[in-house]
Symmetry: C2
Subunit: 281 residues, 2 copies
């Protein structure tokens, strides 16, 4: 079956296009500069839903004042080509002026689950995320929405928001897609120099080492965090921001691992900040 | 046509009932103890939409700690009888435990338009309102929602939120319904003693007097506020909390009335707090 992929820009264009789609609509919100991680979400949506929509929007309200909003990588033509290959039905590419017009003043905020880890390092980040996801959900009206496990806390925050605000949307969280050497795919990986790129594999090695200890019976969270730190310290280019061993749902730091847990870390390589995680279950 | 009115309590019951209704669904959110004001909203919805839903929920998160949540008047049987007479299709009566389960932590907040007047006197009130309306909109999925002009700032806050968050809902604001002597209908009027009830007509007289001055050419906002205060002062039982002459959309206090404006006031009679307003256009 060969269908034309619709590309909508304005809210009106989106509204018209949405009418042509099915009640069974899988939605993949992205900031563009797509990689295999994003495409895996579109494929999963394609498998599970009768129609698929993707948004491409570099959301200014989730960037801090000292973050990389202006330099965030963009390549819309390539993105559209890739999404056409995945048989996406609708791509929405709004501008910041459309989503945050003059006088804009409404915010959606999740509490406790958004406070530690990324929330502590990036004040206001999750408020920007939950606000824009609310807007995207209301405009696109999907039946399912797909997020990557790479942004583990974002997924937890969005699950909480969706449940709390009674959104009629099922949240599907998909596994991290990695490069052959283990580096988690990220649009920000293009910022890395060749040397930093080689060094960046240390995130996954640190997480894998701690995960192996867990699988051999270690349940002390502080020991698992210590192992991650030890491995990260072997890489001189890595400046560790945090390592965490937290409850999978609440993201509270653990003393003992008993249920499902999240090992996660944020590390700078020069000015580039990378995050990665593994789930213990 | 005789249809059975469905009464849903749980979210699951609501979801099942919602499936039976049309895409054209008019929604009237209420806190129950219905009066002619509420019923005028249901009638308007009945005229404009193929199906009509009403929620009855005394929302705890919009009451301050010193406010009248525990004593707020309730009479569900009478409410259901009245709504059946208005040929409402669906009534949803959730409990606080269903809408705010343990671990609940997500809030929707509107900025500037929610800060003065009621927002200044009732901290957190509009955060409770916008949060519960978001939840009700997501659960009920109406095409139109009906609010009373009596709560003028609430209507402005909800219009702002709906626009900002891209809710696919048209907000319809309906005129204040008054008793024969001019008192705006309110569930809280039952708190008034006979003496207070007679005194309470002063709100409408104050607003009407200022409105008449406006219609005779007065454009100085301070003069209109002064007139309202003068009339309110003639009633010894009235303790004035605020009088306002503000822009209709932004609710900023005016110096000169040039466009559409809102005259509003909040007055205590003993422990009972009444509000009222008129629109200048």
């Amino acid at each position: 079956m060969s269908r034309q992929m619709i590309v909508a820009t304005t809210l009106e264009e989106l509204g018209t296009a949405r009418e042509l789609l099915d009640d069974s609509l899988g939605f993949v919100p992205t900031m563009g500069y797509l990689h295999e991680g994003h495409l895996s979400l579109a494929r999963r949506a394609r498998e599970e839903c009768r129609t698929v929509a993707v948004s491409i929007f570099v959301n200014p309200t989730q960037f801090g004042p000292s973050e990389d909003l202006a330099n965030y990588p963009r390549d819309l033509e390539r993105d559209l080509r890739l999404l056409e290959q995945e048989e996406v039905d609708l791509v929405w590419t709004p501008t910041a002026e459309m989503l945050y017009p003059p006088g804009y003043q409404t915010w959606v905020e999740v509490g406790e689950v958004g406070l530690p880890l990324e929330g502590a390092q990036r004040p206001g980040h999750f408020r920007g995320v939950t606000t824009v996801v609310t807007k995207l959900f209301n405009a696109v009206r999907p039946s399912k929405a797909y997020f990557g496990q790479k942004d583990a806390q974002q997924a937890a925050v969005i699950r909480q928001m969706t449940r709390d605000l009674n959104f009629p949307v099922e949240i599907v969280v998909c596994p991290i897609v990695r490069e052959p050497d283990g580096l988690a795919m990220s649009s920000r990986n293009v910022y890395l120099s060749a040397e930093q790129r080689r060094a960046a594999t240390v995130l996954h090695r640190a997480l894998e080492t701690a995960q192996a200890e867990y699988e051999h019976g270690e349940r002390l969270a502080e020991a698992l965090r210590g192992t991650m730190k030890d491995v990260l310290r072997t890489e001189p280019l890595a400046q560790v921001q945090y390592v965490s061993c937290a409850d999978y749902e609440t993201l509270r730091e653990l003393e003992q691992v008993s249920g499902k847990a999240l090992l996660s870390t944020a590390v700078f390589f020069g000015k580039t900040r990378l995050i990665d995680n593994v789930v213990l279950e």
